[in-house]
């Protein structure tokens, strides 16, 4: 039983990483109905920027906000330069463009920082604390806490501020919002910036565990896809709950289901994606879509 609890706790911790990346995916989906395939690579790149800052001697807690601001600016810039020209194009075009962006960012990271995995500092100590009979490290608890804080901040921004209202209005009713004086296109750019910053958090959380290298987020993004789909792809709360569920499920399957082990955990995430899409396409928190023809 104790080992089971142990697995759940460490599953929740990895789930926190998936949750923040899934949250970033949901933000962009809400802004323009698109899954951003480059989200993981953007997060990886932001983490490299953080590493450069820390290597220059900056304190972790100073480097963190600086990185998030740079990631935000990068997200806005990418939306302005790359996404805006194809904003009204069919989904297929957008998917291909974000895939191109993913390889471009991945290659740039390899070009600038190399492919050798690097260790990344963590602000949380590796000491453990007894939690209902299971040993949880401060590292695990820290990851869970950070993803919780990010969710609350995003929730407050979207639901309790005028800017959040404008963001939501611009994505749901672009024409009406434009008539009311909201600069819709800039709202999209803001959405990209926000998503980029939230994604960067997941990169910063993942790097101490996975070691930082250009392909670090390639598997994490699949788990984040699974989390976002499970949560209903348009619900921020769903993304976080989905992330935690995926983290725990994958961890438990790796530990207890014979034949899964470490290398087929990704296949479990794939199975979750397929099962949700076929059985309950709206996920846990999504609404059924009605389309006018």
């Amino acid at each position: 039983m104790q080992e089971f609890l142990q697995q759940v706790v460490s599953g929740l911790a990895t789930g926190g990483i998936f949750a923040s990346l899934a949250l970033a995916l949901v933000l962009i989906y809400n802004a323009m109905g698109l899954v951003n395939f480059a989200q993981g690579e953007m997060a990886m790149f932001a983490t490299f920027i953080a590493l450069v800052l820390i290597d220059r001697g900056l304190n972790y807690w100073i480097a963190l906000p600086v990185t998030l601001v740079i990631a935000f600016a990068g997200g806005v810039l990418i939306q302005r330069i790359v996404i805006r020209p194809v904003e009204r194009a069919p989904v297929l075009t957008l998917v291909i463009v974000t895939l191109g962006l993913a390889t471009l960012v991945n290659g740039m990271a390899g070009f600038l920082f190399g492919y050798v995995p690097r260790s990344f500092p963590t602000p949380f100590s590796a000491q453990t604390v007894n939690l209902f009979g299971a040993l949880a490290s401060y590292q695990d608890l820290g990851v869970i806490a950070v993803s919780g804080v990010v969710l609350v901040l995003i929730y407050l921004l979207l639901q309790r501020t005028t800017l959040g209202l404008a963001l939501r209005a611009a994505s749901h009713h672009p024409e009406a919002s434009r008539l009311l004086g909201i600069r819709v296109s800039w709202m999209l750019a803001l959405g990209w910036g926000l998503a980029s910053a939230v994604g960067a958090v997941s990169g910063l959380l993942a790097a101490p565990i996975l070691l930082l290298q250009p392909n670090m987020m390639q598997t994490v993004i699949i788990y984040a896809f699974a989390a976002a789909v499970l949560g209903g792809i348009e619900s921020p709360l769903g993304a976080v709950v989905g992330g935690l569920i995926v983290g725990v499920t994958v961890n438990l399957a790796g530990a207890y289901v014979p034949g899964v082990g470490g290398d087929l955990q990704l296949a479990v995430a794939f199975a979750i994606i397929i099962a949700v899409l076929v059985l309950k396409p709206n996920g846990l928190f999504g609404r059924a879509g009605v389309r006018r023809v």
């Binding site: 109905g33 069919p90 191109g100 390889t103 070009f111 896809f225």
Partner: protein
């Protein structure tokens, strides 16, 4: 003679291209033939993806997985059951096509976005899925395929033409791939010109309207998936035979990606597009690396990094640029460039060709 003179210019172009590809191994080395074999194989896989993405408007980011299935089918049939390698190629194609058909059924319920997501995940997990049944697939070590020897008649004909002592396995496989590629391109051309092609394009441009006109949506969409997978399976089978070896690392995510890049760069919804895309995606990393390594002013370290990161950067940048500025790909650029040139030559007085505008851009 009159019918020859009246044939459209494009037929002449096709003839030139065929002569070029048939004659190629007689003038280049055996190693270079093997490189061009890979170009042809990529062209086949890209053609398959083009039918799916360009004509039916569905998307797959997991065609590398279909290629892996085809390659492993061939490898296992040869290795365990000692089948003739030529017989394994159609088996690999049909098996992959059947799998593609069954994957096309759940794909019917998914929007383009979800389909992209699911097939992307499939491409990512393919290497670890292959590793699992170790007895069948050889695990991480993979399976070796012995080089295929040309039949005596072909061998003697080839030596008579080129004067070389013997035809190598690479040269023989080049001709096998060329023959199969020509047949498959011809089949694709026929498919898209006739009823299925019209139905697929109707579905792509307006599913509800197509259904209202009695087009069997589910049937055609799964058909597109099956045909597309069939092409990828054949390509995978040839790929395994050419490189003589299959292992999980032969089929990384980047392979699926390379196929997509080829389809987009060549030009979606066009028949010559995949061939151009195949040439482009295969030669781009090689040529650009040689170029960078040959420049004296670029430091060696930078050149070494470029070798790893260069293809990703150029592929990514090209995908974005083409989608923004030339969504019809190289073929679109050539066609519109040719049309512009003709109006320019004919003079300003004669604008308009009196022809219908091309297909609306939907991809």
């Amino acid at each position: 003679m009159r019918s020859v003179r009246q044939a459209p210019a494009s037929y002449l172009l096709v003839l030139v291209v065929i002569v070029f590809f048939v004659g190629l191994p007689t003038v280049v080395t055996s190693f270079q033939s093997a490189e061009w074999t890979q170009v042809l194989i990529f062209a086949i896989a890209i053609m398959g993806l083009n039918i799916l993405v360009g004509y039916s408007g569905q998307i797959s980011l997991g065609h590398g997985a279909f290629m892996a299935l085809g390659a492993y089918t061939t490898a296992i049939l040869i290795h365990r059951y000692h089948l003739n390698y030529l017989a394994t190629i159609p088996i690999a194609g049909v098996l992959t096509g059947v799998v593609g058909f069954f994957l096309g059924i759940p794909a019917l319920r998914l929007s383009a976005l979800y389909l992209a997501l699911a097939t992307f995940a499939l491409a990512v997990i393919t290497p670890s899925l292959i590793k699992r049944p170790e007895e069948l697939t050889g695990g991480v070590r993979g399976i070796e395929i012995l080089p295929a020897q040309p039949p005596d008649a072909v061998n003697s004909a080839f030596t008579a033409v080129t004067g070389s002592p013997a035809m190598t396995s690479d040269q023989w496989l080049y001709y096998v791939s060329l023959g199969i590629a020509l047949v498959l391109i011809w089949l694709a051309w026929n498919l898209v010109r006739h009823k299925p092609g019209r139905a697929l394009r109707a579905i792509r441009d307006g599913e509800v309207a197509a259904a209202a006109f009695g087009v069997n949506i589910a049937g055609y969409k799964t058909l597109a998936f099956a045909v597309s997978a069939f092409y990828a399976g054949i390509a995978g089978s040839l790929y395994g035979l050419t490189i003589g070896f299959v292992s999980p690392d032969t089929f990384p995510v980047s392979l699926s990606f390379q196929i997509l890049v080829g389809a987009v760069i060549g030009g979606l919804a066009s028949i010559p597009g995949p061939l151009l895309g195949g040439i482009f995606t295969f030669w781009l990393p090689i040529v650009s690396n040689q170029f960078v390594a040959g420049q004296a002013w670029i430091p060696d370290q930078v050149a070494a990094v470029f070798k790893n990161a260069g293809p990703a950067v150029t592929y990514g940048a090209l995908l974005i640029l083409i989608m923004i500025f030339a969504p019809r790909g190289l073929v679109g650029l050539i066609v519109s460039g040719y049309a512009n040139l003709r109006t320019r030559l004919r003079g300003a007085g004669e604008r308009g060709t009196g022809q219908l505008p091309p297909d609306p851009q939907t991809v």
